[in-house]
């Protein structure tokens, strides 16, 4: 009887604990990251009595946490990828919508600008048309400025989020280290199930922020790494990340480890929101902003170049309509030797960035193009030294510097921010060409002149009229400074000298004279603005393969395609993450119906065990009654 009592009691205890676990599961059915717990029952050690093994009841073997580390690991991995893609896609679509917006995009502003160019070409003597051109030039520059400003806003938002994510990561790894410690110190054999769930939950949250790898240690703690072996948590210690200013650009925040964040690790972070932010900035934002700036620089340069070939209402050669936005050079913090970059050929300028490194401090440098890592060697003879143009720009190095000095050259980065329209007087708009041709009154032949163009103004204004005289198939040139040798006449051939071009067509007679003179009082001349208007359709960018609008269209398309890719990746990663989550839930998730059934099961078992005790009591009472006097 006492043994029966004892056995009944083991039953009560065991089922009490089972019910407790069931209620724990039910209460935590909606807890994030909770793995259901299951009580494993086993028999007590049997008693060998009277040649037989007699059972002694039930015991709780363990409270098992239903858990699979592989599935959990998968979930973490896909959580990282998903969050990275989601962050990238979100930022990318901001930029995407900005560029193609019909009211604030660059396309309509370019269209409006060229419309005013045409208006001046249609009415070159009209001062109001010229004023409209200057006003529109200003609007275009402001549109560039505005787009750049929006990029800067995205950049600063990104910096803010980066700082916040780094702070979150630091707080999470601090907690993980502490949970490691608590798990180690937890009394009793077997794992502290809820602490393990807590740690998994923290690791899951950490994977949202940054891609991690985990390694389980024998003492029950988990070490966490990122990148290719950078430590975050080792044992009970957490190694914090810091958001530090980039050594070239203090306005760019990067991630660093170590004392004061001195070791930059941005390049090694992938996965999670941090990975997504860094990837977006590196692959999309920088490139888009550089490309926009490059197009601003090239636009200003080419408009100015054509404008300078013309003549304004005051009879002077054309000035600059736009300023020349500078090329951005960033010096490593602490380096004193200065390097500047200047524009040589705006048709070659691109969105690329270049790293200039001082190799030995004795005049040897190397320039590395970041997109394809192509290296250009630079040997400076004396200082200051200007190297030949690479990709449309040239660097000027002030002094020898020290070995290891580094500079980042980003030609296009500030172009859109710096471009400005600087002409305000409509009389200074150079619609005319500075020269005109004429056929002498006394000519007897029927030859005419046409296709008058100017390619350079160094020899202008003409000191005197230039006369070309035809005689017996040859043309002699008088009055040209510098002098021009005689040449053979060919009907319709282009004649070019001293920056001027024109054609003579037809059949001249001996002694016929053709003159080139300064275009004084030529206020009704629109020829320079006809040329300027043609720049809209000419392929002047990207080494001669795209017009301004085509280049801008390429930027929009690039951003669109990358955004699309990010969105597709996001969708794919989300379903992978959902699948992994479902697998994990299928194994470890709480099913309320199952728990309800267990509740009934254990309740019944408990009642039965209580009945056993009650029966044992009755038996004892019967025994007592049997020996009562």
């Amino acid at each position: 009887m006492s043994s029966m009592l004892g056995i009944g009691i083991t039953g009560l205890m065991a089922y009490q604990r089972s019910l407790r676990t069931v209620s724990h599961n039910v209460s935590n059915a909606q807890t994030e990251g909770y793995s259901r717990q299951r009580v494993n029952l086993g028999t007590q050690t049997p008693l060998f009595m009277g040649g037989q093994y007699m059972g002694t009841g039930v015991r709780v073997v363990n409270v098992e946490r239903v858990y699979d580390s592989f599935v959990t690991r998968q979930t973490q991995l896909y959580t990282s990828s998903y969050n990275s893609a989601e962050t990238t896609a979100r930022y990318a679509s901001t930029v995407d919508e900005l560029l193609a917006d019909p009211s604030v995009g660059l396309g309509p502003a370019l269209d409006d600008y060229f419309a005013t160019v045409q208006a001046v070409a249609n009415d070159p003597a009209d001062v109001s048309a010229r004023q409209a051109f200057l006003t529109q030039a200003e609007s275009l520059a402001e549109r560039y400025n505005y787009l750049d400003q929006r990029f800067e806003e995205v950049r600063s938002q990104l910096n803010q989020q980066l700082t916040a994510e780094v702070a979150d990561v630091n707080s999470l790894i601090g907690s993980i280290a502490m949970v490691n410690r608590n798990i180690f110190l937890a009394p009793g054999q077997g794992e502290a199930n809820d602490l393990l769930d807590e740690r998994d939950r923290l690791l899951g949250q950490l994977s949202e922020k940054i891609g991690i790898t985990t390694v389980e240690q024998d003492d029950g703690s988990v070490n966490v790494f990122f990148g290719n072996g950078q430590q975050l948590v080792v044992g009970f210690d957490a190694y914090a990340l810091t958001a530090v200013a980039n050594k070239f650009d203090r306005a760019q925040l990067d991630v660093g480890v170590g004392q004061g964040g001195q070791i930059p690790v941005s390049a090694q972070i992938s996965g999670g929101k941090l990975g997504g932010l860094l990837e977006f900035r590196r692959d999309m934002l920088n490139e888009a902003q550089n490309a926009l700036g490059a197009s601003a620089i090239a636009f200003a340069d080419q408009m100015n170049a054509q404008h300078r070939l013309g003549q304004d209402l005051n009879g002077a050669l054309g000035g600059d309509v736009f300023n020349s936005p500078g090329l951005d050079v960033r010096t490593e913090t602490g380096v004193t030797n200065t390097v500047t970059a200047s524009l040589v050929d705006s048709g070659q300028i691109s969105a690329d960035e270049y790293l200039l490194r001082n190799v030995d401090g004795a005049g040897n440098f190397e320039l590395v193009r970041q997109s394809d890592k192509q290296t250009f060697a630079i040997s400076a003879g004396g200082f200051p030294y200007t190297h030949t143009a690479i990709d449309g720009f040239q660097v000027t190095i002030a002094g020898a510097g020290s070995a290891g000095d580094e500079y980042m050259i980003r030609p296009g980065r500030n172009g859109a921010q710096l471009i400005q329209a600087q002409m305000s007087d409509p009389r200074e708009v150079a619609a005319a060409l500075p020269v005109r041709t004429a056929v002498a009154f006394a000519n007897t032949g029927n030859a005419t002149t046409s296709h008058n163009r100017v390619t350079s103004v160094t020899d202008l204004p003409l000191p005197a009229d230039v006369t070309l005289t035809y005689n017996a198939g040859n043309i002699t040139v008088a009055g040209a400074v510098p002098a021009v040798a005689p040449f053979a006449y060919a009907d319709g051939a282009t004649i070019a000298f001293n920056g001027l071009e024109f054609r003579i067509n037809g059949t001249p007679q001996n002694g016929d004279v053709f003159t080139v003179s300064n275009n004084s009082a030529g206020v009704g001349d629109n020829r320079n603005f006809l040329e300027l208007g043609r720049l809209q359709s000419q392929a002047t960018m990207q080494g001669g393969s795209a017009s301004f609008q085509e280049y801008y269209g390429q930027i929009v398309a690039e951003v669109g395609i990358k955004t699309r890719q990010a969105q597709l990746t996001e969708d794919a990663q989300r379903s992978l993450m959902d699948q992994a989550f479902n697998e994990q839930q299928s194994l470890s998730g709480v099913n309320l119906d199952e728990e309800a059934a267990n509740l009934i099961k254990f309740q019944q078992a408990y009642q039965a065990a209580a009945q056993v005790i009650s029966a044992a009591d009755e038996m004892f009472q019967a025994l007592l009654n049997a020996v009562r006097r």
Partner: protein
Amino acid sequence: MRVSTSMVQRLAVNSILERQSDLSRTQLQLASGRRILTPSEDPSGTTQALKFTEQKNKADQFQANIDRAQSRLEVEEGMLISIGDTMQRVRELVVQGLNDSQGADNRAAIAEEVRQRLGEIYELANATDGAGEYLFAGLQSKTRPVVDVGGGVFTFVGDQNARELQVSPNRVMATSDSGHELFFDLPYSGGGKQNIFQTIHDFAASLDANAPVGAALTDIDTAMDRTLSVRAKIGARMNALESQRTVNEQYIVQMQSNLSEVQDLDYAEAIGRLNVQLSGLQAAQQTFQKVQNLSLFNFM
């Protein structure tokens, strides 16, 4: 496969969210009439749309340029018609004056009218358009092109160039003609070249002297022929402008239709899609509600 309670819920909620997001996108498309809401939905389509818009705007600009060119040419033609009529009157006067039956007094009276007509042609040659630019001065459109030096000498201080306007990507059209060609570069019956003003002036002087020169008739005919040939050139240019306008018009229509194809929404398809998505969302919501109510705890 074993399912957990939160998994069931999450699946159901996710599918509702997805349906809602699809539905909202379709709504936005219908409201804006655009198939492409953001460039990332169709990057190549967006690029095409940008390109078509640009081409259409350029073509519209060329049409505006053609309008301007035509109005300038019409003004010039009007001037030349008046000049031609005046020259015709002068010719009649020349014939009259050459008639041997005229006496000195009559010739003097004719000479007076000839001088009047000369003044008219002189003013017409120095005519300005509505914007104050001299029509026949070439590029120097704010400088009076024909100058009466005195004593029958006239000089042309303009130049020989014409103002050209861009009417298509590769084509410019001259919208003026120089006074040099019209009035000065005329072969003279007495050898070399002489301008029409001097010719008429000299004839009037010869009438006054009662010894009219018959060669003046040839010279005036030369001038009238020149005026007519320039008018013919203007006519040809205006025809060319008209046909260029038609070509541009067709191009604009083509660009507009391409643009519409790329970026406009197919309403029939979108509305069909909207209906399907609406019923999908309703189904998801109703199943969610039905399934959520089922729990063993309800029966305990």
